[in-house]
């Protein structure tokens, strides 16, 4: 369309326009004289039709899983079942208020109780709290529990958390927030955390290790048993970053591997939609010794003279609450429905096919895009996205993929692979989609050789071309400067 730019809501605003009618006041007017009023709350003024069109047009400029292949490594962009959206909107769930008498929300509590049990079963943990709102908050929560655990033990010198260099940024960030010091561990030549480095680091100042398994290279840690043993032996705890649990559900239980605490990303493994960045949900599971430190309230099943029922309870030594109420309940509903639809076999089938798809891509692409740690991977793998001798970088390849209608993989992460492209196809993609991706990647590699400018100038077919990030960071226009007409 000519006139390409979509005006902002402020640019669309017209003084005096109104999009909505409210019920007429059916009570007497109360005096407002005791409060300080404002004359203009600063909102734009649009008709409902303006608003509907605005967001419809905006949405068409946004790429989701439902728009096409979205192999964004570490993020598990798989199909989000539509039935779960309908379920979460059932008024019985959506209209329930968090502070209602528990007697009136037994349906919600039953759901949460079951989900706690199921997650514990899937991860091999003794107990689960559904409070954290996302993976990062789950990490922070888990670390605070570790901290509380050592305080409880009277062991105050454990201030260090070991973190492999392949870890996600939230791991060290959470570590700092929880008052610990992050210690980076190198990776070995096969993409594992370096066992010798673990051995050296383990001492009585170590509160624990934060480990992602499969790690962010998509590789199962080959020495995981030994790593856990070493950390435990020095008195530390093992925190599992469960972001990659979608490769393990039904395949192996972190609890069985000796993990003490782990967060789940329900928005990854259990397919609650990513929502353009959130909301997600990051429950934490723990082994028996950390159970009483869980954030609460958690749901318990109770049977006494008043009969059997679900109740909200605070674990005895709880670190407290990390969200206002019980976590992102609406996401819990979706995850519950998802697990219930899959059963044990379905979850294993998911993991297996996530792994199948990722390995298929690896073997098909490795001749064109080098895979530094080229061994059987789990649900994702990392290759080098730069094309030697052409000046084409991973970023360029990514941008060119946009022209093929494909969302690029994660770029430049993990940090230990230069020019990294981290590719996670997920299990809900069928072979023709993977083949189309392979073809696109190979075509781009050819383009890079024949016409590098084409790739470096990409994308060409998107509503905007490459954006000036430097200017954005320098000028910091974070707020629409348009004065609404007649403001």
């Amino acid at each position: 369309m000519i006139g390409h730019k979509i005006p902002t809501v402020y640019e669309r605003s017209v003084f005096g326009r109104c999009g909505v009618a409210l019920p007429a006041r059916d009570v007497p007017e109360a005096s407002l004289s005791a409060v300080e009023l404002r004359t203009d709350c600063g909102l734009p003024e649009l008709s409902q039709l303006d608003v509907a069109r605005h967001y419809l047009l905006l949405s068409q400029r946004n790429f989701g899983v439902d728009s096409g292949f979205y192999p964004l490594g570490s993020c598990t962009m798989k199909f989000n079942p539509k039935i779960n959206e309908q379920i979460a909107r059932l008024p019985g769930f959506a209209e329930s208020h968090p502070l209602q008498d528990p007697e009136t929300v037994q349906g919600n509590l039953a759901l949460m109780f079951e989900l706690q049990q199921w997650l514990a079963e899937i991860g091999g943990f003794a107990s689960v709290s559904l409070q954290p709102a996302a993976g990062a908050q789950g990490e922070f929560t888990g670390l605070l529990m570790m901290r509380a655990y050592y305080r409880e033990c009277g062991d105050l010198k454990r201030t260090r958390i070991l973190i492999p260099d392949s870890a996600h940024g939230t791991n060290p960030a959470s570590t700092t927030m929880a008052g610990f010091t992050a210690v980076e561990l190198p990776s070995d030549a096969r993409g594992n955390v370096d066992l010798e480095a673990v051995r050296v680091a383990c001492d009585d100042t170590v509160a624990g290790i934060m480990i992602t398994n499969p790690n962010t290279l998509g590789l199962f840690e080959e020495h995981i048993g030994e790593v856990v043993r070493l950390v435990h032996a020095c008195g530390g705890l093992v925190y599992g970053d469960g972001a990659n649990m979608n490769a393990l559900a039904g395949i192996a239980r972190p609890g069985d591997l000796g993990f003490d605490v782990m967060h789940y990303n329900l928005h990854k493994t259990f397919s609650t939609p990513h929502g353009g960045g959130g909301p997600g949900s990051g429950p934490v599971g723990v082994s028996a010794r950390l159970k009483e430190f869980l954030p609460g309230p958690v749901v318990e099943y109770m049977r006494d003279t008043d009969g059997a029922r679900y109740v909200l309870a605070m674990p005895a030594k709880s670190i407290g609450q990390v969200s206002t109420f019980y976590g992102n309940f609406g996401m819990l509903v979706r995850a519950y429905a998802y697990i219930r639809q899959h059963g044990a076999d379905g979850l294993r089938e998911n993991s297996e096919h996530a792994v199948l798809n990722a390995n298929y891509l690896r073997v098909k692409l490795r001749d064109t895009f080098a895979v530094p740690f080229d061994r059987t991977n789990m649900h994702e793998f990392v290759c080098r996205g730069a094309i030697d001798g052409t000046g084409v970088r991973a970023l360029d390849v990514s941008k060119r993929l946009l022209d093929y209608g494909i969302h690029p993989p994660t770029n430049y992460f993990p940090l230990i692979v230069s020019e990294a492209l981290m590719i996670e196809p997920t299990e809900t993609e069928a072979k023709p989609t993977l083949d189309a991706f392979i073809e696109a990647m190979q075509a781009i590699a050819k383009e890079a050789a024949n016409d590098p400018a084409l790739v470096k100038g990409a994308p060409h077919e998107t509503p905007v071309k490459r954006l000036d990030e430097v200017k954005a960071a320098r000028e910091l226009i974070l707020c629409d400067r348009v004065k609404a007409a007649n403001d």
């Binding site: 003024e45 759901l111 192996a252």
Partner: protein
């Protein structure tokens, strides 16, 4: 129901390409003793079955009629225009993730930029982030920001006892990772701002107030910011966004950080989440903010566009030295709020605020006339917005059971949950969804119990 699409034939071809014979061969790295656990989970249900089952589960909850609910305390039944869900249902939004690839994320980026803009104007602040998990975590992050500003030199957060108790709890949890602590006046909730001001000292990083406060009352904020700033601290204000349709905004009375829960802006209560953490501040703090920020820029052809900016604050760049660990946020709820705010507009939000004000006052006056009932016993002269405290002639528990069982009414919040002294005090919320008839029903029902 699994959503795995593979046919037998495709699976065979793919395994062959990989060079393994069976699916199991892909899992050789996994220690055999833990490999392929037999999970004890209910067996798989089809879409048809799961829907029936979930309907049964939802029906085990009491069927709340929002018009007959007077429970608020931070989560409210407000009118939600149908347009909001129309927008959220767009798969391009709901199935996307963070806007790492700006060229195909202009829709969400522009929507979030506009969200930031509307939040800034509504609060009268200079910069807002693209969302936090919920109001309590936004508040907790605000206190961390204040500590960060103080660069380790101040470790006291003066936290008004009239701040939502669950929010205070979350702040305390967040501060467990720091050397700081919260300090409050009189924990029974009667503390007034004068008392809090006296707690300010050179060790104080921030004063946190809620306005309207947890009890629904408007705080006398005149001169407060000055006092806080004189002490070298930040003023953090937790507010109710709906109230800002009508009331003087925190930016105008000197707040340094404004936080709020945005559930009231078009998001269902959903048993407490997902909600929306609103976070706005001064440009002076922009590099200390947590969460995503969307900035305006231009593309290679000079056309306007939007990108995530100042990523150097964030965990994926700055790692252990990031301003926060937040990654996944509450973007879709921010989109809901943006749709809500642009649909309601200037006049609509004002009208909602007015309806809340007048209806809650109507209810308060009516209840106040019942024998044995007292309105806002601890601060009878303070103005209030949409919530007020009622001292009942018996416990809240007794009243609420009767309201629900006899009248299908969800009564107000039992303040005795946080403070045993207040177990006869109910916090009653009245919004635009409560009709005069439903308020009259509440009043009559309260009168019945009293008899």
């Amino acid at each position: 129901m699994s959503y795995v699409p593979h046919t037998e034939k495709e699976r065979g071809e793919m395994l062959a390409a990989i060079g393994v014979a069976r699916m199991e061969d892909l899992f050789a790295d996994i220690p055999t003793q833990v490999r392929f656990p037999a999970l004890k989970l209910p067996s798989a249900a089809s879409e048809l079955e799961i829907m029936c089952e979930m309907q049964v589960l939802a029906a085990r909850n009491f069927a709340v009629d929002p018009a007959l609910s007077f429970l608020g305390a931070g989560t409210y039944h407000h009118f939600r225009p149908a347009l909001v869900d129309y927008v959220l249902a767009r798969g391009e939004f709901s199935t996307s993730y963070t806007q790492y690839q700006a060229e195909v994320s202009q829709g969400m980026l522009q929507a979030l930029f506009e969200y930031q803009s509307m939040i800034c104007r509504l609060t009268d602040m200079e910069v807002g982030n693209a969302s936090h998990y919920d109001g309590a975590t936004a508040l907790a992050e605000a206190t961390l920001l204040a500590l960060n500003v103080a660069a380790g030199k101040r470790n006291k957060i003066v936290l008004s006892p009239a701040v939502h108790p669950q929010y205070r709890a979350v702040v305390r949890t967040y501060l467990r990772g720091t050397h700081a602590a919260t300090i409050a006046g009189d924990e029974d909730g009667a503390a007034d701002l004068e008392q809090l001001k006296r707690l300010l000292d050179q060790n104080t990083a921030a004063l946190v107030i809620q306005n309207p406060n947890f009890f629904g009352q408007c705080e006398p904020i005149e001169g407060l910011a000055d006092a806080v700033h004189r002490a070298g601290a930040l003023l953090i204000v937790l507010t109710d966004p709906i109230s800002l349709g009508l009331f003087r905004p925190p930016g105008a009375y000197g707040a340094d950080v404004v936080v709020a829960d945005g559930q009231c802006l078009g998001i269902p209560p959903s048993f407490g989440g997902p909600h929306l953490g609103i976070f706005a501040a001064r440009m002076a703090q922009v590099r200390r903010l947590s969460g995503h920020l969307v900035g305006e820029t231009v593309d290679a052809n000079g056309r306007r566009g939007y990108v995530l900016t100042l990523a150097t604050r964030e965990q994926h760049i700055r790692r252990a030295r990031a301003t926060s660990n937040i990654c996944t946020n509450s973007a879709l709820c921010a989109l809901a709020a943006a749709t809500y705010l642009s649909t309601m507009g200037k006049r609509g939000l004002k009208q909602v605020a007015e309806l809340c004000f007048h209806k809650s006052h109507y209810a308060a006056v009516k209840i106040g006339k019942l024998k044995g009932f007292e309105i806002n016993p601890q601060a009878p002269t303070k103005p209030f917005f949409k919530e007020f405290v009622v001292r009942l002639p018996a416990t809240v528990g007794e009243f609420n059971a009767h309201l629900r069982k006899q009248h299908g009414i969800i009564g107000g919040y039992d303040l005795g949950r946080d403070d045993p002294h207040l177990k006869d005090c109910m916090l009653v919320a009245v919004t635009e969804v409560n009709t005069r008839a439903s308020i009259d029903r509440l009043v009559a029902a309260l009168g019945e119990v009293a008899k």
